[in-house]
């Protein structure tokens, strides 16, 4: 029953698909084909990402993450966040669990915002694709602009979050990860 409730939105979408299939078989088949393609795409990287996150959780200490990406990591932390995001594979929604784990491990909120921006906009594999289809002028200008933009956006976002909201963001990560250790915001 609990499982059923958790899957209610997925089930609702599936029922909607079935209704479309009954009313407009052509469209319905296309929807199901597209959904199946998405499932395959997700299966291509999501388990690998969660596996890596699991290993990271066990092997990488909080202190190490705080030193590299925490409040006091400075320009190096920002640089590392950009590199991590730009080296990523997979669509943006795969970045959310990664961002969550970063917070659990004590990365600063600002660096997590930068990381998300880099994942969305600066992914190298994606940029190579863009380079070949849109040309260097378009692709490189967009990349350089976005590199500035994500830091600007992260700065604005960080300013709009109060200290209480930041603390709340750290503590709310517990639900998804169920870490053994209690999640505390990094001091400062």
């Amino acid at each position: 029953m609990r499982t059923l409730r958790r899957y209610r939105l997925a089930i609702a979408v599936f029922v909607l698909d079935l209704i479309i299939l009954a009313v407009r078989p052509e469209t319905g088949r296309a929807v199901i084909r597209a959904t199946f393609r998405n499932l395959l795409q997700m299966a291509q990287f999501l388990p690998a990402i969660f596996l890596l996150l699991g290993l990271l959780d066990v092997w990488v200490s909080r202190q190490a993450v705080i030193a590299a990406l925490g409040k006091r990591s400075g320009p190096f932390g920002v640089f590392l966040s950009i590199v991590l995001g730009a080296a990523a594979a997979g669509p943006l929604y795969a970045a959310f669990p990664v961002a969550s784990t970063m917070l659990v491990k004590g990365a600063s909120v600002f660096n997590v915002f930068v990381f998300l921006g880099a994942w969305a906009n600066l992914k190298i594999p994606m940029s190579l694709f863009e380079l070949s289809s849109m040309g260097p002028r378009f692709a490189l200008t967009r990349w350089a602009l976005n590199a500035i933009g994500i830091v600007a956006i992260a700065t604005i976002m960080r300013r709009l979050f109060s200290d209480e909201e930041v603390a709340e963001m750290y503590s709310s990560q517990r639900n998804k990860e169920a870490p053994q250790t209690e999640v505390k915001p990094p001091e400062g």
Partner: protein, 159 residues
């Protein structure tokens, strides 16, 4: 290609971890499983929604919508289409190229591509689940606005 790399990396680390410490490796696997299982319902729902969106707004329709329009109206239209759709990169860029070949303006294409990558309407529930409502609203909202800055600059830089 990317997935081979991701799995290769994960499996290499898994083996190294197993050789070093079995108990920790078992913990890591349990964590990986429980966090994947925990979020799976939301992922499945989002994928279903994306499937719907892709079918109702196929690349041909997007080309027709964005290709014809120009100016601010065209940019606003392109930004909305880019925000609600979620297309993998290997489809998105050939699509962007065909838009340009079809005569669409550089700012319209830039705003489309940028919102496509950074603004996720269908993935917002998932983002909100992980990072909260405020983060989701701000990140998507600011990225949406930013896409227009990118578009205006690209319109001047790229002929």
């Amino acid at each position: 290609m990317e997935s081979i790399f991701a799995y290769g990396l994960a499996i290499t680390f898994l083996i190294a971890s197993y050789l070093k410490d079995r108990t920790k490796t078992r913990q890591a696997l349990q964590k990986a499983y429980s966090s994947l299982e925990g979020i799976l319902p939301d992922f499945l729902a989002v994928l279903g929604l994306v499937g719907l969106a892709l079918t109702l707004l196929p690349p041909q329709t997007i080309t027709a919508l964005i290709g014809r329009s120009s100016g601010w109206a065209g940019m606003i239209l392109a930004s909305i289409v880019g925000s609600v759709t979620l297309i993998p990169g290997f489809v998105a860029f050939p699509l962007a190229k065909s838009l340009r070949d079809g005569g669409a303006g550089i700012p319209q294409i830039a705003v489309f591509v940028t919102t496509l990558m950074a603004v996720g309407f269908v993935t917002a529930p998932l983002e909100s689940k992980y990072l909260g409502r405020k983060e989701t609203l701000l990140r998507n909202g600011l990225s949406f606005v930013w896409a227009f800055v990118v578009a205006l600059v690209l319109g001047m830089v790229v002929r």
